[in-house]
């Protein structure tokens, strides 16, 4: 499904942030990426989506055999990649629901499908908003405009639910969420997850993984995945931190 091989990327001043990432994600899998601050976790999601602030120095990223690195950003999204950043961007003046519809219709156009009908879209929106326990305030406001941290994360998952991507890369989706919101968002992700899809979660804490059971847990440090394991690895990291890995 998603195959990342020896991915290296740097920022404008030449500093290399990703120093050879290897990651294989298969359908139905949930991968959790953990690691200290500044290890390159957020950079990874942005690089595979094509953020212009990063330069790919080498390696490959394929989604279902297609080279993502050769695609325009919108094409990567329409091919089935979704990323949610740690701090979702605010876009005042662009209505949230109109934006969702525009994004969905862009994907449908890419897939050769007709635009979604008004009633069908309304129903889809209502269904997903209900799943995430979102009220009507989300409809009338600008994209993430004036939202609290938790509201932004919920809105990200709403987009994920509507765009129905193959692979979702969620960067610290649990940050800024209170206990109830964490449960709602996690349940939403579990509901969207399906055997033909995959999720990559970046998190610092076990608490999200109590709700979303990972297939694999990886530790990213200094731009490389230095350790991979099963769900038990997250529990160990929660207790012991990261220093023991280097000691090992």
């Amino acid at each position: 499904m998603l195959s990342i091989k020896n991915l290296k990327a740097s920022i404008e001043d030449g500093t290399q942030i990703l120093k050879g990432i290897d990651l294989e994600v298969k359908p139905g899998e949930v991968h959790a990426i953990m690691g200290p601050n500044g290890s390159g976790k957020s950079t990874l999601s942005k690089v595979i989506m094509g953020h212009p602030a990063y330069h790919v120095d080498g390696g490959s990223v394929e989604l279902d055999g297609k080279n993502l690195l050769e695609m325009e950003i919108s094409e990567r999204a329409n091919s089935g990649l979704f990323i949610s950043t740690q701090y979702p961007t605010e876009i005042p003046g662009v209505n949230n629901v109109e934006f969702l519809k525009m994004a969905l219709n862009s994907k449908r156009a890419y897939l050769g499908l007709p635009e979604i009908g008004e009633d069908e879209f309304k129903k889809l929106c209502e269904e997903k908003m209900e799943l995430l326990e979102m009220d009507d305030r989300y409809r009338d406001r600008g994209v993430n405009d004036g939202y609290s941290g938790g509201e932004k994360k919920r809105n990200e998952i709403l987009q994920m639910a509507i765009l129905d991507p193959k692979v979702s890369f969620l960067d610290e989706t649990d940050s800024g969420l209170d206990i109830d919101a964490l449960r709602i968002v996690a349940n939403g992700i579990n509901h969207i997850m399906a055997p033909e899809k995959a999720v990559i979660l970046v998190t610092h804490y076990q608490r999200l993984l109590d709700y979303i059971k990972p297939t694999y847990v990886h530790v990213l440090r200094h731009g490389k995945i230095i350790l991979s394991g099963g769900p038990e690895l997250a529990l160990k990291l929660e207790k012991q931190g990261y220093d023991w890995i280097e000691e090992k």
Binding site: M49, G50, H51, P52, A53, E72, I73, S74, R76, A77, N78, I83, P88, T89, I91, P92, G93, V94, F99, M102, A103, S106, K107, Y110, G142, V143, Q159, L163
Partner: protein, 325 residues
Amino acid sequence: MDALSRIKQLGMPRRNDELWTFFPVAKIPAPEFPEASVCEEDFSDEKDFAALLPVAQNVHPMVKDIAEGASEMALLKSNNDFGRTVLNIGKNAKASIEILDNKVLHPLVAERFDINVAEGADVEIFFANPACDLPLRFRHFRITQAAGSTVRFSAIERGNGISRVSIDDFLQGPGASIEIRTLNMLGGNAESHHRLHIYHNAPETTSTQLSRNLLDGSSRASYDGSVIVGNGCTKTLSGQLVNTILLSEDSSVSVKPVLKIYHDDVECTHGNTVGELDAEQMFYLVSRGIPQETAKKMLISSFAKETFYPLPDSPAKKRLLQVLE
């Protein structure tokens, strides 16, 4: 001194005239004037050529009175090269005034509006001119506000010619306020120049200026905004902000904020930003599958609409946002 004599005294605008600093004065055709002025008003203190020009042409002013406590909507349209409108808004009246475009295709069109706002009145003045080909247009507003009055002035300019809007606002009574929101959406060789003087002549008066520019092609915009806070005008609040997005290499903007403050205990701010479309916002939209060009249009539209979102629900807000759809 009548307007014609004052124009003769001042002469045509020159580049070193501080009221015309950014304007391409060489492009102003020398108008023909009547032999004598019929208007007996004294204009000896008026320094702005654009404010004098329609009066010096002896145009017959259109006078409209809105009675005390009345609520009215009005459309104003001048059908000549030169026009003058006098609006007297009565005490506690509520008025919504839309200025329509003068379609006279002459080399120079100039309009003057004298707006007298009585105590407690609430007035919105707006124009959203359709793209037009007027080569050179001046619009001058002289607004006098009594205590507790509110004026909201909003405008969209997207013509192909050269436009200059000048506003002199006199906040004469305590609690008077003015809110000015303008948007220039220019391309080609279009130019839009704004020259504002806000006089805070009473305590506890408020002025807000927001000017936004979306400039493409070789277009130019300028904003020359002065706030003058008089002695004894305690608790004055004044804010000025100019935001510009340059959509092309050849477009340009000039901004000159001026604050003249003759009293302590006032709060006056000004700010100016010039940039391109927000790269993070662009990335966010395209990362959701929206094509680059569509995303660009969405961001331009959002930048433009934001100019007027804070307005209260009113005919002005409805019209201005409708124009931007």
